[in-house]
Symmetry: C2
Subunit: 236 residues, 2 copies
Amino acid sequence: MSTRSPHRPSPHEDSPHIICTVDVVALTLIATRLHVALLQRAQPPAQGDWALPGGYVHAQTDADTSAAARRVLADKLGMHGVYLEQLATFSGPRRDPRGWSLSVAHCALLPADALPAQGPAGAIRWVDVQQLPGLPFDHAAIVAAALARVRNKSQYSSLPVHLCGEQFTLPQLQAVYEAVLGDTLNKVSFRRKMDDMGLLEAVPGAMLTGAAHRPAQFWRVRPAYRQHLAVTPRGL
Amino acid sequence: MSTRSPHRPSPHEDSPHIICTVDVVALTLIATRLHVALLQRAQPPAQGDWALPGGYVHAQTDADTSAAARRVLADKLGMHGVYLEQLATFSGPRRDPRGWSLSVAHCALLPADALPAQGPAGAIRWVDVQQLPGLPFDHAAIVAAALARVRNKSQYSSLPVHLCGEQFTLPQLQAVYEAVLGDTLNKVSFRRKMDDMGLLEAVPGAMLTGAAHRPAQFWRVRPAYRQHLAVTPRGL
DNA sequence: CTAATAGTGTCTATAAGACAATATTCC
DNA sequence: GGAATATTGTCTTATAGACACTATTAG
């Protein structure tokens, strides 16, 4: 908080104009590869370009920037109640041609089932993060930061469960971790760690059958961990 | 980035007024306890209260919010070239009586030697983080977030070296880690990890003498790690 | 020499990974 | 039964911690 502007609360003397926005890196797993949601911009700047979903912070209605990010997720992707965390804030005079701008970037993880292909605000492209097109503004840096965060947290926490649906088998969950981390994991160790975290509970009687081999048990996240991540002290 | 406001870059239709500031949680170690820098606010709101150093983002001059935070560090604490990282952005309609505000919080680590007691903007109080007074705005939450971040990163990285001066002995460094983490560490393991990280180099011939026991070797951070943190895969 | 802390060697405990054996299913 | 994957048991290896021994200094 500044000690300037004793009489006028307006920051105009210091800040003629700062554009406050949020951007959302919405990630999901398609065919064991991370994909990010891009929208085609309907208006300038960068009209027609595929970019991250984002929007102005609405001071009248948004409780905070996370609420603004949830509004963007709902309005532009049609997604509600998904995992969302604040990433970092990107700012500067050059990142947006409209002027000095500040964007609070958020990262959302979406279960692969029930992904919208058509959002309320037009078509959504789900792009493999390894094959990103050129992105406007500093969106490439924002996506890179999101990937770094997700990969880092996936090393020692339950973060990737938010890429799964309600129920999943342990082999499926391990595949999700491996896709995010880009490396294979030891099966025995993975199961030990999941057990130690106390994150999951077996769904009684629910088994994934149909294949010509032993069925796999379905698991779900315990209610206590629906909102908070579980962590393991020494990584997976 | 919004797709609204096609013709007017102004966000006024969506955001009548958003106050953009930075706040800095400047931490240092005094007598093996973490202390945070507080300044007495010269102007309302919360005039006279002790609060985090902060200020408006200056769109004319600041390259980004980190530059604004460095400016606050220089102008209000007289500190230059210290370790600084962005923490998180705090926002909402209620946190500041002046209106809907957004503060990009940063965390700075200062070596205990050469701390200013008198900053350019008045007296500085260095307060033990365990004995914080009531703080205005949401500064208590910002300090809590900074402490959580620093303690978390100290578990697996070289972050605490930024609380030390140019040279330090390994027993001193271990004491810094223990103060930050609030727990004792195994001496042999600590030295093994420091060795594995490849972070430090012995200062040739520099030993801490004067006490009635074997002198300790002085170490310094290798140039390659002055800007980046070193990490250890499984914590300390 | 004594006291005190620095620095190192080594043994033990714990955790991670490799490997393989058993369990179930569909055909 | 055969093929395939799930699940579990167990051995090996790697890492962390406990403990103690040696090193070096001031007085």
